[in-house]
């Protein structure tokens, strides 16, 4: 599976997975956390479009609802997938910074 499989929801999906990396959260907590983390405010429609795709692919799972709010957590596959994606970004960031330093 690749992040590009999520189409235009690739970036929201990565942000959601990152937000869930430190524990289960419900929709509103995810929105808040993602805004704090990245400066991006995901709209509710975008958030749930990405959530449904992540759930379909078995990367996250729903926990029993707390009142009406339902928390989500990473599955083992989701954790592994996030690790791979972040490692890829980490490599890319390192290469970019090295190249910039070489130009200076």
């Amino acid at each position: 599976m690749n992040l590009s499989d999520f189409g235009r929801f690739a970036d929201p999906a990565l942000l959601i997975l990152t937000s869930l990396a430190d524990g289960a959260k419900h929709g509103y907590a995810m929105m808040e956390d993602i805004e704090k983390l990245s400066g991006v405010r995901l709209g509710p429609g975008t958030l749930y479009a990405a959530l449904t795709r992540l759930e379909e692919r078995g990367l996250i799972e729903a926990l029993p609802a707390d009142d009406r709010r339902r928390p989500y957590q990473l599955t083992a596959n989701g954790r592994e997938f996030l690790r791979e994606q972040l490692a890829r970004w980490h490599r890319l960031t390192g290469i970019g910074l090295e190249r910039l330093a070489g130009q200076a």
Binding site: R8, A10, V40, G45
Partner: protein
């Protein structure tokens, strides 16, 4: 909040069954005007998603047959409708054949529909009522026209175009009014959409009695047409937004 309920109604029913409560809880905590287009985009995305387009347990083979039969029935209805609207002086035989086609195709469609949606009996009842009403209306109009001295019918591609345009108008407006929760009852939304079309046509016909058409009628007709255009522009732009919206920008903070 009424607006939130309207927006939630834009999502497919199977999506709502699974996510409605938690989505509603999220919107109760955080909702602003700028979220409206985002939610409309999300709803259209869900509607375009194959997962929410069909229910589990549907009979796909029967569904395919239903689509073919439904297409045939729709063609007949549109042809009849167009022919009635744009009546000419030539033969009525083709119209009779089309009516016979409807008599055969519509019950077949209903049976197939029940086979497809075994778990959705209410949907089957609705489609049965709608098709029965269409058929009854078609027969009544046909018989009334036959009673008139110059009541002959002929069918052509022009009629299909006219009937198709009107049929789409009614279907789109009915769906829009129902999906947005403006008219929650399915049958009523169809009735209002059809009524609005006939009202517009009546306005035009009454206006045509005057020569030249009086200014007030023209203003009224243009006003109705402007509202119609505005509604459809919103609908189409939402669709375009859902399909072609730019990706979210990722800005990782320090």
């Amino acid at each position: 909040m009424r607006l939130i309920d309207c927006l939630l109604n834009l999502y497919p029913s199977s999506w709502r069954e699974r996510y409605k409560d938690e989505f509603r809880a999220l919107l109760d905590q955080s909702f602003s005007g700028r979220d409206v287009l985002d939610i409309i985009g999300g709803a259209l995305d869900a509607r375009l998603s194959p997962q929410y387009r069909s229910s589990n347990g549907d009979n796909m083979e029967a569904k395919r047959l239903l689509q073919i039969a439904g297409g045939g029935a729709l063609l007949c209805v549109l042809l009849m409708f167009g022919a009635v609207v744009n009546r000419t002086q030539q033969g009525w035989f083709d119209a009779g054949l089309m009516l016979m086609g409807m008599v055969i195709i519509i019950p077949v469609s209903v049976v197939l529909h029940i086979a497809c949606h075994q778990r959705e009996t209410r949907k089957s009842q609705r489609i049965f009522l709608l098709t029965a009403a269409c058929l009854a209306m078609g027969i009544v109009i046909f018989l009334l026209l036959r009673q008139q001295p110059n009541g002959d019918l002929t069918l052509s591609w022009q009629h299909l175009y006219i009937g198709g345009t009107f049929g789409l108008w009614i279907a789109l407006n009915s769906r829009l009014a129902h999906a947005t929760g403006l008219i929650p009852h399915w049958g009523m939304s169809l009735g209002v959409a059809s009524g609005a079309l006939w009202l517009m046509m009546a306005l035009v016909m009454v206006g045509m009695q005057f020569n030249p058409m009086s200014t007030i009628w023209m203003i009224l007709i243009y006003a109705v047409a402007a509202v119609w255009l505005a509604v459809h522009l919103v609908w189409l732009s939402s669709l375009a937004l859902a399909v072609f919206a730019p990706k979210q920008q990722l800005a990782v903070s320090d």
